[in-house]
């Protein structure tokens, strides 16, 4: 049944094209005050004193909160989504540049900023720990004296070490490499912010907040503030992008809440861009050593990886709690392996906390990069074409469902078909011929492949949770007497078009128009509980809940229709959007007629109390596993090191496509991410702890001139366990594309003997690589 699926123009666009979106900073409440955060200029320092008296005396200032003020409320520290704690306002010391130290509340946003200048903080500087590789050295500065483990957060491993080592020992060829996945930042165009409105009389808090997970946020706000959860309403308005950056709870949100509780007035806090880049969640920051083992004729045998994960000053990684390295251990990629093993050590440094976030499917991005770089290196070592090596080792369709060596069961796939399609679309053989001709002329053209498998849609109850909350989502579907429907969902669009896609899901099940389904989201008072949107989980989990609720409505409608037609329910069949009498299909009713009857005085059969409304809570039986084959063609100027992405061919298989237009848009976005992450986006620090990437002049994002016109292809391998066979697409291209870009650039540089170059492949880094003088790209330590 796919009647309502297809490239439908989006319902949300009507407001956005008119400038009538409702983003956090668009909201103004009567009497609203404006907050601003004083941040630490130092990466590591003991706080000797904070003197806010001059700021408090500023005529426009209504309140100033310091760490001590929050401590009196028990709000100086908050739990992170990964079970650590994080300072809301620093009390003992500051642990990264940009850390929150004090919060000023004033009558306008400019005055609040002015008053920040009036706060005197006496810092006693401490040596900062900026290089994760030295975090575990004896004598390294200790970031977290409040914890017993020094700078070590965790040691974690997955896979079978003995079997992996044995496979390596027996291999003809072993290739290994150190590689950095540099610290990056999702940088949604809208920064983070909140408006807290605490009503002292009723003890009720309303928080408008840039949150991808309003229900999970509410649980945390209740825990931190001590307010009962039913007295807290979290509203997530239109979000100007998120990409994971709007999953965590940030200190600014808590400051706004505390300030509203202190002043009895609504308080708005919206961060500026520097605050966004320097203090809200980062992504990646993995120092990896990977090895791949193979036979001489190109059969991949095993993989192993050792990772040092830089988590910054607090462990605030937004991922399922039982997985300290996220889903990195789906690092066996898309290939048949005999064994695999990985070890990950997480460490604290004096950098901003966070981690995972940025359309990465909980670290599968890092894993895909590792395995796809290693595969290319292996191809080079063996003298094989990288496409041929991949084709030889890809899992075959008949192997699904496939349980990989680290325990994940891939649901479905036809990998060779996707790779063949990508190669055909690219004209791969012709590209290789062109490359040879250009090389003969001294021109450096690269062709880079990547093949990726994601695991998305977290996740099955019992296998994964966040802070004890199962990763299941609810959906409530009401059908009004006229057959118009309202679907309330727990997940939160940041541009993915839920108002349209979810309407299509319901419409398809009920045989009505998507125009007749309104989707309510982003308000905990109006929607059922669920864990929100990240890890490409909206369609796999919440979308499934919507479909289950809709099928319940349809089954109830069947009973009502049977009463209307005075036949047995078993005599009815759902055909072309109506319950029809078997053998007499002209006799039947659609949802609108049945809804009318369900609300009428018609005597209803047993099992129907009245109305058609239904709800569902969906517990996914497994992750879904989208996959794809990408090919990136680049031209590199050896004189300047500049990389131009000439073509990007992307074949994605995300199962059944509900709205192909939206799916393609999401792929476009992720390909731009791949270009940005591979070529320019990285958060860099100097050795004294200064963040050197605190603005869009320093943290470069790809523009229309760097992004080519993508060439998209699709295959459809439905997920066998999702109600409509969909798998999720929101992160695929971000996961899969960086490896293709880097493989392409390294391929272009092969004549120089280059076998690897770390991201970001800026002109400077490429040029130095060509000169044989590559530098570390994660720190300005060269």
């Amino acid at each position: 049944m796919t009647g309502a699926y297809g490239p439908l123009a989006r319902k949300e666009d009507a407001r956005f094209i008119r400038g009538l979106g409702n983003f956090i900073d668009d909201i103004a409440l009567p009497g609203m005050l404006h907050g601003a955060i004083l941040r630490s200029p130092l990466a590591h320092a003991r706080i000797v004193s904070v003197d806010a008296s001059a700021a408090r005396a500023h005529p426009a200032v209504v309140a100033v909160l310091t760490g001590d003020d929050l401590a009196e409320r028990g709000m100086a520290w908050m739990p992170t989504v990964f079970g650590d704690v994080q300072a809301v306002l620093a009390t003992d010391k500051v642990r990264f540049q940009g850390q929150e130290v004090a919060f000023v509340v004033a009558t306008d946003r400019y005055a609040a900023r002015d008053a920040l200048e009036l706060i005197a903080v006496d810092y006693e500087p401490l040596p900062p720990l900026m290089d994760a590789l030295t975090a575990l050295d004896p004598g390294a500065p200790v970031v977290r004296e409040d914890l017993p483990g020094g700078n070590r957060i965790f040691d974690w491993s997955a896979g079978d070490k003995a079997a992996t080592d044995a496979a390596f020992d027996a291999a003809d060829v072993v290739v290994g490499c150190d590689m950095i996945y540099p610290r990056s930042h999702p940088a949604p165009l809208e920064t983070c912010g909140a408006i807290a409105d605490y009503e002292p009389v009723g003890g009720r808090l309303t928080l408008w907040v840039t949150s991808q997970a309003p229900h999970a946020h509410r649980v945390l706000y209740a825990a931190i503030t001590g307010l009962p959860e039913h007295k807290i309403r979290v509203v997530s308005p239109d979000l100007g992008g998120g990409f994971g950056a709007k999953v965590p709870v940030y200190p600014g949100y808590l400051c706004a809440i505390a300030a509203s509780m202190a002043t009895g007035r609504p308080v708005k806090w919206v961060e500026d861009r520097s605050e966004n880049l320097m203090s809200t969640t980062f992504a990646r920051d993995y120092h990896m050593h990977g090895e791949i083992a193979a036979t001489a004729d190109g059969e991949i045998l095993a993989l192993r990886a050792r990772v040092l994960a830089d988590h910054g000053a607090f462990n605030a990684a937004a991922q399922p709690s039982k997985f300290p390295a996220g889903f990195f251990h789906i690092f066996t990629g898309s290939y048949q392996l005999r064994a695999a093993y990985c070890e990950v050590t997480g460490v604290f440094t004096n950098k901003a906390p966070g981690g995972v976030a940025y359309s990465c499917s909980f670290r599968i991005t890092e894993a895909v990069y590792l395995v796809e770089r290693l595969t290319d290196m292996l191809a080079r070592e063996l003298g094989m074409d990288p496409a041929e090596l991949r084709m030889r080792n890809l899992l075959r369709p008949e192997q699904f469902p496939y349980t990989g060596p680290t325990g994940w069961q891939y649901d479905s796939g036809d990998y060779p078909r996707a790779l063949r399609l990508a190669l055909d679309m690219a004209g791969y053989d012709e590209l290789r011929r062109e490359q040879a001709e250009r090389r003969a002329r001294g021109e450096y053209m690269g062709i880079g492949l990547s093949f990726f498998t994601e695991g998305v849609g977290a996740g099955p109850r019992g296998q994964m949770d966040i802070l004890g909350l199962a990763m299941v989502d609810g959906a409530d579907l009401r059908v009004h007497p006229t057959g118009k429907a309202v679907l309330a969902i727990s997940v939160q669009t940041q541009g993915q078009g839920h108002e349209t896609t979810f309407a299509q899901l319901v419409a398809n099940e009920l045989g009505i128009s998507p125009d007749d389904v309104d989707v309510v989201h982003g308000d905990t008072d109006r929607t059922p509980f669920g864990l929100g949107t990240y890890g490409s989980r909206s369609t796999p989990v919440s979308g499934a809940a919507a479909v289950v609720a809709a099928t319940r409505v349809r089954e109830r409608a069947r009973l009502v229709a049977a009463a209307m037609l005075e036949v047995a329910a078993d005599d009815l069949e759902w055909l072309d959007g109506k319950w029809r009498v078997r053998g007499d299909p002209d006799l039947g009713f659609g949802i609108a007629e049945i809804a009318q009857a369900a609300h009428s005085a018609l005597e209803l059969p047993a099992g129907v109390e009245g109305h058609l409304d239904a709800s569902a809570v969906y517990n996914p039986p497994n992750l879904t596993f989208p996959f794809g084959a990408y090919i990136c063609v680049t031209d590199v100027d050896p004189g300047t090191g500049e990389v131009r992405v000439r073509r990007f061919i992307a074949v994605d298989d995300c199962g059944v496509r509900i709205n192909p237009m939206i799916v393609e848009g999401q792929v476009h976005r992720g390909l731009a991410d791949g270009i940005g992450i591979a070529l320019m986006q990285s958060i860099v620090f100097d050795e004294t702890g200064n963040c050197l990437s605190g603005s869009f002049m320093d943290y470069l994002l790809p523009t229309s001139l760097e992004c080519p016109s993508p060439e998209l292809g699709e295959t459809v391998t439905p997920s066998p366990h999702h109600p409509v066979g969909a798998k999720g697409i929101g992160e695929s291209a971000t996961v899969g594309s960086p490896a293709a870009v880097v493989n392409s650039v390294v391929d272009a540089l092969a004549p120089f003997g280059v076998v690897h170059a770390d991201m970001p492949l800026t002109p400077g880094n490429v040029w130095r690589t060509i000169q044989g003088r590559p530098v570390r790209t994660d720190l300005s330590l060269s």
Partner: protein
């Protein structure tokens, strides 16, 4: 300081601080929240409006600098309640996702088509290259502008 400015055809007289940015004047004083603030450093272009007939990044223009001049924002683009073809185009071609960059992109696109009614894809890319979109990879924005160029005489749609 006292300023008088015509915004979307309406005259406003206001007393403002000399340091007030145009984007904040539009958003906070006039409550025209269609233009967005995104970066502070005039890199992202979410704040693009027209000063007289020229697109400017209103985060780096002071409100006092527009005294006696005309400002047009996305809210002022429809004529007689009818959407501009560029607005229609963004909806028709999926030229937006989160919608945050959209008003600025639309203002630049309209200006481009006024200067160059039949631009090439490369000219469109050049025109929007001072603005950032984090959702579309720009491809569907380019398609939207080209669609609008083709449908320049179209008027009267409701856009979605």
């Amino acid at each position: 300081m006292k300023i008088t400015v015509t915004v979307n055809g309406t005259d406003y007289a206001r007393v403002v601080e000399p340091r007030l940015l145009l984007i904040h004047f539009l958003r906070d004083e006039l409550r025209l929240t269609g233009s967005h603030w995104g970066c502070d450093t005039s890199n992202c272009g979410a704040c693009v409006v027209w000063l007289d007939e020229t697109p400017v990044k209103s985060c780096t223009v002071l409100a006092v600098m527009v005294d006696g001049r005309r400002v047009t924002t996305v809210e002022g683009l429809p004529r007689g309640g009818v959407l501009d073809p560029v607005q229609e185009a963004f909806a028709a071609c999926h030229g937006l996702q989160c919608g945050f960059c959209t008003p600025g992109m639309i203002m630049t696109a309209r200006w481009l088509l006024d200067q160059n009614p039949d631009p090439s894809p490369g000219e469109v890319r050049e025109a929007i290259s001072g603005q950032v979109c984090r959702c579309t990879g720009y491809e569907n924005i380019v398609r939207s502008v080209l669609w609008a160029a083709k449908h320049h005489d179209r008027a009267g749609g409701d856009g979605a």
